[in-house]
């Protein structure tokens, strides 16, 4: 694969510091974005209506975006401007509002002559419970993964290398979500959890080749990289295709396109983390850490 040649860098040309610098700078930038977001909005990421509470309607109509906006903004139940997003067909729009008075919203839509395709309403209290559980689930998954990695490798530096790159694999996509305007939804939480599983795959593979097998460090790394990059690129291609096909421009299945997009971002970041950050930490451990 062409990309394999691109990644066939000669690690001996670079010091550990140089290798680790790029992923660490990216991680720090991502954390800065999340911190800045927290200062500006009060949350490190933008939660969607599944977490804040509100209603999402999907309507089909010949009317224009502004007209739909007016229809819903005129309702007393709707506080502030509802968000209206056009999708693939041109006639289908997604309307999002903080209001949970679904009866008022649907009857307004129907009396304006729109076809209501779907309505999804979450109360604020249910949403905040779900959000709490989501954060808790993500934290529990991460801690569980970290413990397992320690049990598998039983040495500090290689385990930390895996955990750090998994951490970065989650944090960088979160920051990118902010920059691309993707809200945190149940689908994106699922994708982030899936990233924990996916990202650890290639790290475990690399650690296993370097630590548990005989042979030269660079030889082992090369083999692990050949397999690992194939794995990750295969997954990226599947997820990228899913993200595009399910996007609002083609099939309009938001859940699937969100999962796909977050995974593409996370897996791309994982390539960088595994073969720059993880490799440099392992090399340091192998040549200097053990010797000390």
């Amino acid at each position: 694969m062409a990309a394999l040649d691109v990644l066939a860098v000669d690690y001996t040309d670079y010091t550990d510091r140089q290798l680790a610098a790029i992923p660490l700078v990216v991680l720090v930038l991502a954390l800065a974005v999340l911190g800045g977001w927290f200062l500006m909005t009060g949350a490190p990421v933008t939660p969607g209506i599944e977490f804040t509470g509100g209603t999402e309607l999907q309507v089909t109509t010949g009317a224009g975006q502004a007209q739909i906006q007016d229809t819903f903004a005129a309702l007393p139940a709707v506080d502030g401007q509802p968000t209206v997003t056009p999708t693939a067909g041109g006639n289908t729009f997604i309307v999002t509002t903080q209001s949970t008075d679904t009866d008022a919203l649907t009857s307004a839509a129907e009396s304006a002559g729109y076809t209501v395709e779907s309505v999804q309403e979450t109360s604020a209290s249910f949403g905040s419970d779900v959000q709490q559980l989501g954060v808790l689930g993500l934290a529990a998954a991460f801690v569980g993964m970290a413990l397992l990695v320690f049990v598998l490798f039983r040495s500090f530096v290689p385990s930390i290398a895996v955990i750090l790159s998994a951490f970065s694999d989650i944090v960088v996509p979160l920051a990118l979500m902010n920059l691309f305007g993707i809200e945190l939804s149940l689908g994106t939480v699922a994708a982030l959890l899936m990233l924990i599983g996916y990202s650890v795959d290639s790290d475990i593979l690399l650690n296993n080749h370097v630590l548990k097998r005989r042979g030269d460090f660079y030889e082992s790394t090369y083999r692990a990289r050949r397999t690992g990059v194939t794995m990750t690129l295969t997954s990226i291609s599947a997820m990228a295709v899913m993200a595009i096909v399910a996007s609002k421009f083609v099939f309009n299945i938001p859940l699937l396109s969100q999962v796909g997009l977050v995974l593409v971002m996370g897996l791309a970041v994982d390539l960088m983390n595994t073969y720059l950050l993880n490799v440099s930490l392992l090399r340091w451990y192998k040549f200097e850490g053990i010797a000390r």
């Binding site: 009866d103 249910f126 559980l133």
Partner: protein, 539 residues
């Protein structure tokens, strides 16, 4: 030979089992239907589809109320407690439920308007040592079970087919989840929003100005019929004659009364309810055929039986002379049949559903839940398109694999193995009757992804150089398997919080991913190693 290839054999067995689970004539359809149609999405399989992929409405909401657990009541405490707490809190006795066992009781109050503090102090003034901290929001599992049963009855009584009601819990909080295919959201909401408590109240004029102690407070928020309220009409009295639906043994479908033409619901009382009811009728003068006029809502006074639903008087009527004679003679006790009327057909229909299905123990708190509606045609489109999305993802994986290996003997079995994994997983979903939603589809695609990753690890490990002997194969296979097993374990650990915490809609995704990874690690991925060995070596 068989001993060497047991892994392939196991895979074949599982694929066959999945095929049986998916296509054997059962709930969904049959082999014949599939043969003629060949399209998985149109329903020839035994797969079940959830709301996302079939359309319909779903409402999830908790029941309103509070629970005090571990109230030390001693062996005799129960009965007294219900009345005491009800009068302290000024709620009906049907809104307080005491369950005793081993000298301690669980007390529930079925109302959204009682604070934890008020409930605790009501129990304290009843003489029990209960602190505010002992009172928690929410109701017991038993109450939820009752609610689920009542709601299922309501849905089937009102003629909606295919509805399902269940209790789901999310982070220690319980919710009732009601799903009805092809049903408009607001209609479903209307059906379940009310508690549907129906009681029958005797309303009658009393002589003199003193209100006897057996009289209860005014009924309904529209107390206009109660003459004494505004001082113009005669003094009247209310007494609950039938406290709840449990007094009815049999409820017949709505029909038209031959004389008045009004829609009526014929009912039969239970033996236990018939005697006290008749005694009340005798005591308050309803047994006199002359007392047939009813002035409720029309100036007040007279003798009326009020049908009260959730505190609202929905119908009032005098007693028919024949029925009155039955009360007088006591014949009614032996044949406790009468009919209760309503103003119009739809009200009669609602009354019939309420009487038949029973009342919800506590009202649903629709403000604290979620609701969802998907137009069936949109859901159908999702079903087809998500299948296409999955196939396109598989195609992308295939292209990547072929580009990398350029060797059909490696790549084709890899794809077939990945697909068989999904196939077995679909069989699993059909076996346990899991209703598939979009989140499950995302899970399937995730499984394809991790599956192919693992197959790449196996392939690369085994293809390093010529596999000449079985011993080399075994050792390489074992090394590949260490990585795969470790990766699978992390995925399972990463997903298990979601599967256990049951974060609503993500639970299905987590379960599919976990089961998929397990099927992969235990069955399909080892088989792929075996296939490679067969294809690449002579033994």
């Amino acid at each position: 030979m068989i001993r060497e290839n047991w892994r392939i054999g196991l895979l074949v067995i599982f694929v066959l089992a999945a095929a049986v689970a998916l296509f054997a004539p059962g709930l969904g359809g049959g082999v014949a239907a599939n043969a003629t149609n060949g399209n998985v999405t149109t329903g020839p399989t035994n797969l079940q589809y959830g709301l996302d992929l079939s359309g319909g409405s779903q409402i999830r909401a908790p029941l309103s109320g509070l629970t005090a657990e571990g109230v030390d009541v001693g062996p005799q405490g129960g009965n007294n407690l219900t009345g005491q707490v009800a009068s302290e809190l000024n709620v009906s006795t049907t809104d307080v439920r005491v369950r005793t066992g081993n000298g301690s009781a669980t007390v529930e109050v079925y109302s959204g308007n009682v604070s934890q503090r008020a409930f605790a102090s009501a129990l304290q003034s009843a003489g029990y040592d209960v602190q505010q901290g002992d009172v928690s929001d929410g109701l017991t599992k038993q109450t939820y079970d009752t609610a689920v049963e009542v709601l299922s009855n309501k849905i089937s009584e009102s003629g909606l087919s295919g509805g399902s009601v269940q209790t789901v819990s999310s982070g220690g909080e319980r919710y009732v989840s009601i799903e009805v295919p092809n049903q408009n959201r607001s209609e479903l909401r209307e059906l379940v929003a009310d508690q549907g408590q129906v009681k029958t109240v005797a309303y009658f004029t009393i002589e003199g100005n003193r209100t006897p102690s057996y009289c209860e407070g005014p009924v309904g928020t529209n107390a206009s019929g109660n003459g004494s309220a505004n001082g113009t009409g005669p003094t009247t009295c209310n007494v609950t004659a039938l406290p709840s639906q449990q007094s009815f043994q049999d409820v017949r479908p709505v029909r038209q009364d031959q004389q008045t033409g009004e829609p009526v619901v014929p009912v039969t009382l239970t033996e236990e309810a018939a005697k006290p009811f008749t005694e009340k009728m005798q005591r308050f003068g309803f047994d006199d055929p002359a007392n047939r006029t009813c002035g409720y809502g029309r100036g007040g006074g007279g003798h009326c039986l009020l049908t009260v639903r959730d505190g609202e008087v929905v119908y009032s009527a005098g007693v028919d002379p024949d029925l009155a004679r039955g009360f007088a003679s006591g014949e009614f006790v032996d044949d406790p049949v009468y009919q209760t009327s309503a103003q119009n057909a739809s009200q009669a229909q609602g009354l019939q559903v309420d009487l038949q299905a029973g009342a919800l123990p506590a009202p649903l708190n629709l403000q604290e839940g979620t609701s969802q509606y998907i137009l069936p045609s949109v859901a159908q489109r999702f079903k087809g398109l998500s299948l296409v999305t999955g196939l396109v993802a598989v195609l992308a994986v295939s292209v990547a694999i072929f580009v990398r290996y350029r060797e059909p003997r490696v790549a084709v079995p890899m794809l077939l193995t990945g697909l068989s994994e999904v196939f077995i997983l679909l069989g699993f979903a059909a076996t346990i009757g899991l209703p598939l939603d979009l989140s499950h589809i995302a899970g399937f695609i995730a499984v394809i992804g991790t599956g192919v990753d693992d197959l790449v690890i196996i392939a690369d490990e085994i293809l390093q150089s010529d596999v000449s002997t079985g011993r080399v194969f075994k050792s390489r296979f074992r090394r590949a398997f260490w990585v795969i097993g470790a990766a699978a374990a992390t995925t399972v650990i990463a997903m298990s919080p979601l599967a256990l915490l049951s974060l609503g809609d993500l639970r299905g995704f987590a379960i599919i991913t976990i089961v998929g990874v397990l099927i992969g690690v235990l069955i399909t991925r080892p088989a792929y190693g075996n296939v490679l060995r067969r294809l690449l070596t002579d033994n």
